[in-house]
């Protein structure tokens, strides 16, 4: 599947809640391919960076124990409708993805 990131950012009462859903297999490296019997190599997001109007708000450091097609939510004080929220990730294979969305 394509490296999609879906973002929902809403502000209410001075607090912005950001929710993100990312497309990623998050392989632990422990499971075997049923057909070949070989171990599926570890392939997982290691770092997720979240920015508000270009300023870093939160960094998530992940291991392979985060579920497939990972979900993330956090909150921060401030943020206004129309502000930019950017979510980027980098995985252990050096692949990356980024997505930008506006606060509603």
């Amino acid at each position: 599947m394509a490296k999609g990131i879906r973002i929902r950012a809403k502000t209410k009462g001075g607090v912005t809640t950001v929710k993100a859903l990312m497309s990623h297999p998050m392989h632990t490296g422990l499971r075997k391919n049923k057909k070949t019997g070989k171990k599926i190599p570890a392939h997982f997001i290691q770092e997720v960076n979240c920015e508000h109007n270009g300023n870093a708000v939160m960094t998530a450091l992940w291991g392979p124990a985060v579920s497939k097609n990972p979900y993330l939510s956090f909150k921060f004080k401030g943020g206004a409708k129309g502000d930019s929220i950017k979510v980027s990730w980098v995985d252990n294979k050096g692949q990356s993805a980024t997505q930008e969305s506006k606060i509603r």
Binding site: Q46, N49, A60, S73, G78, K86, V90, G94, S96
Partner: protein, 153 residues
């Protein structure tokens, strides 16, 4: 007081994120921050590897929301909420996992004490949330039962 834009092993600036997106930074450069030893540590060593210490204070101000019984250990929704001030990070450990450290969230100056995600829990055991705030560490835990799949599993 200095703005906490750079935490140890912490936040990327806007420039870094742009550079990553443009492929200008290799994973090695950005992820010098990724705590490999902590994510690979087994059992009780995981906390020590991430924080350098295992000294925490149990806190009733850390609420862990997770199912009592996980319908599928591969996708367990977990939320942590806390109002402890000067919060720096929230980390999640699944004690029954081969490598307990599942995720660590480094929170910037404006971030609130709340994170939510979905993790893999190998079998019945404790999910521990460690909050680092004002240089100190606080903890809470929740038992999560993980059942074997039956006919539908």
């Amino acid at each position: 007081m200095q703005r906490r834009t750079f935490l140890k092993g912490g936040l990327a600036t806007g420039a870094v994120a742009v550079a990553v997106g443009a492929g200008l930074l290799t994973p090695q450069t950005v992820l010098a921050a990724w705590p490999k030893a902590a994510f690979e540590a087994k059992g009780d060593a995981a906390m020590k590897a991430l924080f350098g210490t295992t000294a925490t204070t149990a806190s009733g101000d850390i609420k862990i929301k997770a199912p009592d019984i996980a319908e599928n250990g591969a996708v367990v929704p977990v939320s942590v909420t806390t109002s402890i001030g000067s919060i720096e990070s929230i980390s999640l450990f699944a004690s029954s996992n081969p490598s307990p450290l599942a995720a660590s969230f480094n929170l910037g100056a404006t971030a609130e004490g709340f994170v939510s995600t979905r993790i893999k829990v190998r079998k019945t055991g404790k999910v521990n949330a460690i909050v680092k705030a004002g240089g100190k560490m606080y903890s809470a835990s929740k038992d999560v039962k993980v059942t074997i799949g039956g006919c539908g599993g």
